[in-house]
Every structure is written in C-alpha cells, then in structure tokens.
Symmetry: C2
Subunit: 356 residues, 2 copies
C-alpha cells in the first residue's frame, strides 16, 4: 500500500509508491559522454566570460588570466540584470517589476573533467568560502531580498555547460519556495518554541533509519517526505539560520559531507544528473530562531509530469528508508568497488518488508 507523507515543514504531500518501487539499477540510463571542445570556463579562456567578481588565485597571477583555483563571474546570459531599480507597477489586474537581480557563476576548478566531489576536500572547502564571500557581498545590496545558491549537473538536470559550476542568484523578492519553508517553520516555532529542523534532526538521530552520513558538524538524511528517489538533505547539527554565518571551524566538515554524499550517489546511481540548492535565511533578517539553513540534493532520475504539475504532489518510487540504507552502506574505498557495491545494493530488502 502506498503511503501519503506530509512534509513536516510545509503543506507538501508525497506519495511513497512502494508498488512502483525502484532500486538503483531501475534508474539505469544511457550515460552521455563529455563532449569537450570549446569551454569558456576552462583555464586560458578567462576572456570568454565577463570579468571575475571574485577569484582565489596564485598571488603572482593577474585577474582574468590563468592561475586561479575558484573563480566567480557574472552570468553572460543572466536571468536577472544587475542595473537599475525595480520599478514596481501594475497593468490592469497584473503586477510586474523589472527583472533586477544578480546572477553569478562559480567555476569550481580549472579542470573541465572534474565534478565538485572529485576535487580534494580542501578545494571543496574553498568553494564554500567563495560562496560565503559572495553571499556577504550581495547582501549589502539593499535591493536584494534573497540569495539562492544552486548547482545543475548533467544535461537532464538543466546544465547547459559541462564544466562543473554553481550559480548564485540574488532576487528582489523572497521566492515562493523559501516563503513556504519560512512560514511553515515559523508556524511550528509559534506552537512549540522549537525549530522544526532541530526537531527533525532529533527524531532522525533517534530513529536512525534515514541517516546517510554524519560528521562532527553536519548530518545527511533522506527526508521523511522525499520528493525524489535518493533525495538527500544536509543540515548543520547545531541551529543556525544563515549559510554565510556558518562558523569557520565547520567548513572542513561541510566539505567532507558534500564530498562523501555526492561520491556515494555517484557510485550507487552511476553518476546521476543532479541539482542541489542551498536554502538559507533571507537578506535583511537577524538570526532566526525558527529557521535552519540546509542543502537539498535532488538526483534527476524521474520525470516531473502532469500529475506533479497539476497537484504539487510528488510520486516517489523509492522509500527514503531504503535510499538511506543503500547510501549508508556504500563503500567509497575506491572505484574498483563499484560492482561489488551494486551487487550489495541489489540484495537490499525494501524497508517495509522488515517493519511490522
């Protein structure tokens, strides 16, 4: 019998469809090899992007030339444009404003062939430092209400360029999805005087069945109401509402958990296309007792279709307890383990068979 599960944070229901149950090998697809060729993000092609707004580079190198490790540039085809004011206005019953905002690209490394988690842990850490620097800088602009950091990897996940990168968009209004989370968690706080995310962590730590990995400062879980197969959330273990206020000493652990989780997804699902997003407190807010920043990783294995568009519900054919068990047990010792891991994965029982 399928289960209808509600997100504890907002009014979002998910159908966990065990009858359509899907294990990792059911998501097998034709893997597209890297095309290569001309790439504006590769080292030596710095003049093919707008001038950098931030780069961690060799002190002897000059801006917009080789010698960088992480580089942030404005998007050449921005969804929102940096100049001008909002000019909010009406048009009969309609409301509009000018599409003012920032749209930046963070190029994760000079190497075209490396995805985020292929990089050494300290390199990943420096990427998060660069993201933090950009958040702090963009939050100074009084026109912006929210900063969204996200990554698309793989064509099916909407990446238009192969070279691994993230994007940072600053918007003049708080996005719908962020408002839903903020309002949902504020409602919980009003009732209980507790952060809903801290409550989730406590229940998950007690139950254990949806934990994928944890270290000193972060935890990775398969959310109770996962929308997608192998959806994974990473949260700081201690309460903190804004990503850019994460203490310095947590950054190595953040890099470690991202590298571990993405590597395990890669091994389990054979390098799946994926999106991840960072949800954090909006600009112009003090530290929030009711909100907790986190990362949502969504492997792109199923297609969003009419039912999802029409209902806002999701049908997830892989129970999160099963996904967590598979991802928890992946041996990331080396690439040679791939086949062994897959056999192990195929042996895993569906969680509902075990319970009751």
């Amino acid at each position: 019998m399928p289960e209808l599960r509600k997100s504890p944070i907002m009014e979002r229901w998910v159908i966990i469809s065990t009858e359509r149950g899907k294990r990792p090998l059911d998501f097998k697809r034709e893997k597209k090899p890297m095309v290569g060729g001309f790439c504006p993000f590769c080292t030596g092609k710095e003049d093919k992007t707008p001038p950098e707004v931030l780069a961690y580079r060799d002190p002897l190198s000059t801006p917009n030339s080789p010698g960088w490790k992480v580089r942030v540039v404005p998007n050449k085809f921005p969804a929102l444009q940096i100049e001008g004011d909002l000019d909010k206005r009406g048009d009969g019953i309609y409301d509009l404003m000018r599409g003012v905002g920032a749209h930046e690209v963070l190029i994760e490394s000079p190497d075209h062939t490396k995805n985020l988690h292929h990089l050494p842990q300290e390199h990943i850490e420096s990427i998060f430092w660069a993201l933090r620097d950009r958040c702090i800088d963009l939050k100074k602009d009084s026109r912006f209400r929210y900063i969204l950091i996200f990554k698309n990897w793989g064509e099916e996940a909407g990446a238009s360029l192969e070279h691994s990168h993230m994007q940072v968009i600053a918007t003049p209004i708080i996005p719908k999805r962020a408002i839903e989370e903020l309002e949902g968690s504020k409602f919980h706080y009003k009732l209980k005087e507790r952060c809903i995310f801290c409550d989730i962590l406590k229940q998950e730590q007690k139950e254990g069945s949806r934990i994928i990995y944890s270290n000193e400062y972060f935890i990775a879980i398969a959310p109770y109401a996962s929308r997608f197969p192998f959806e994974t959330w990473i949260l700081p273990l201690q309460h903190i509402s804004a990503f850019e206020k994460t203490p310095t000493e947590w950054f190595p652990a953040l890099a470690d958990i991202m590298k571990t989780v993405l590597t395990r997804l890669d091994i389990t699902l054979d390098e799946p296309p994926f999106n991840f997003i960072i949800h954090s407190a909006p600009c112009k807010t003090p530290d929030l007792d009711y909100y907790h920043w986190h990362i949502e990783i969504m492997p792109k294995l199923t297609k969003v279709a009419g039912f999802e568009w029409g209902s806002g519900f999701y049908i997830n054919p892989t129970p999160p307890e099963y996904a967590a068990e598979v991802l928890r047990d992946v041996d990331i010792g080396g690439a040679d383990d791939k086949n062994t891991t897959k056999e192990k994965v195929e042996d895993k029982e569906w969680p509902q068979k075990k319970s009751k």
Copy 2:
C-alpha cells in the same frame, strides 16, 4: 531588461527573460520515432489491462474486447490504491496516511499512432464525455477530495507508454497546487466580489495580445505569467467552477478548441512533448462563485533546474505575447503548410520591440 511577472491568481512569480529569448526553432530537438511493438492499450490487447470501468463501444461488442472507441481502465501500476480507508496517523513529528485513491487511464482511441488532436472533433468530444462521466462517478466516493485529470505526451513529458492516453487521479486530500489557486481566487473574490478568472478573461479580451484562439464557449490564451514557453490555458468564457458541470452544448466547442490549439502547437514546435492538466473545483463543494475551471497545456521545451526547484520561480525565455502571436497566426490548413508557417514564425518580431 527581463520582467518579473506575478500570477494574478497566486504568489507565483515568473521571470520573462527576453535576453535569453527563444523562438520556436530554438527549441529544436531530436525527435524520437514511435517505437511500436507490444502495446497494452491497442485494440485486441484488452486483456492486458485491468477490466474496463467505462467504454464507449459498439453495442454489439462485449466488455474488454475490441469494438471500443474510448476506454477507461484502472492503472495497472497505480500511484494510489482504491481499497481501504485512510488511517491518518502520526509518527513523532511526521504525518502520514495510507495512499488511498483512484488512478485510472483513459485510452483515447484504439489507434496506436494517433495523438488526441489527430482524432476527429466528435471523437475528442466523446473523450471529454468519458472524462465527465468518470468525474461524476468518482465524486460519489466520500473518501475523495479532488479529481485531477492530466495527460503526459512524449517521453520527455513523462509518458511511459506511447499510445495516446490521459489519466484520472482521485486524491484523499486537496492537492497543494489546487489549494493555492482556490485560496488565491477566494482572496480576490473577497476583495472585489468578482472571479479572478473572469477578470483575466475580460482584460485579455480587451487587450487581445495574448489571445491564441476562441470560439463560442471557450478561449485559449498565453497566460500573462506563463511559466513555460508556449504555455496555453483554455477557459470557458462563462463562469463555471467544475469541469463536470459544463453544459452539454459547450462540448463540441471544447473539442474544437483542444484540437485547434494542440494542432497549432504541433505545427509551430514540431510535435513537442507536452503535459496538460484540468483544474476544477474540489469534490464536496457547491458551485463556487470564485473559482473557474480551466485547462493548462505545458509544452515540455525547457528543463526545470536548480533555480526553479529552489525558488518556485520559473524562467521563461519566450514572452507570452510573442507565443500568442505565433500560435494565433498558424495556418492549420494542411500539413503542406508546415514549412511556410515556420518561415512566417521566424519573421515575427519580439513583442517588446513593437511596444513603446
């Protein structure tokens, strides 16, 4: 400069990104030929589906055998299951219930190769009659709160079978997306004592720039805050809240507008994959003054990526005024016109160049 447009019905913002502007030929993709082979929806294979719940068939034929024109069967792999009660319960901070509901498939015709709009108008009309019959029947079940009708066509739009079909899902809770529309339009009604959809129709009829087609009882528009390129909404011109209460004499016009609009999308975008959904008043409600049933057609031309997942905003690279102009002017005289139409399409100026 991109524009941020708000849906007049709910808190949904869309970035109309003229800088990334895309015309029909920009959406060219590799078209996958029909695979054919075994199909459980084809005539003669009636025993490969669960027994039919409804069929319009030759009076001399017997159920679950050839001789049908339109056939409705339970989904063999249902997202929700018809038996049992909801058993709503909690699990610590989490809420869940059993996945009870109906999940049916409407097979549009015995012909494997025909999409909905390839069928004669009176055949399309009978499909809408069958949908109406199923709605009326499912609404009798007191466990159900909402009936969602939708269609996925093409692999990229999530269709798992080639043979053209629609789906009907009855859910035990009103879906999030429906609640948002219902609450948004109720809010407008409280302020103005007018239906927001009727207001939209009036403004669109006055302006004309987003009208694609209309007939005696229905109108097709490119919505002001279209999420997707060439998104098209079909609405009854007169106020009516529930699809299944549509008067008999409107059905030929409904079939006509669906055939016309889908044919024009096919010609303009070279048979794009698409989803459509029908949004209607929930079960157990009287006629609603504030809500207006409608069809949302979404060609699947762009990929939903991290920004959309993280924000709930959409980036639409094709202004709806342009899409409407292109679709309005399509000559559906015959297949031979395809190339001529495309040239005409390429000549169209972006709407913003004309205004101001």
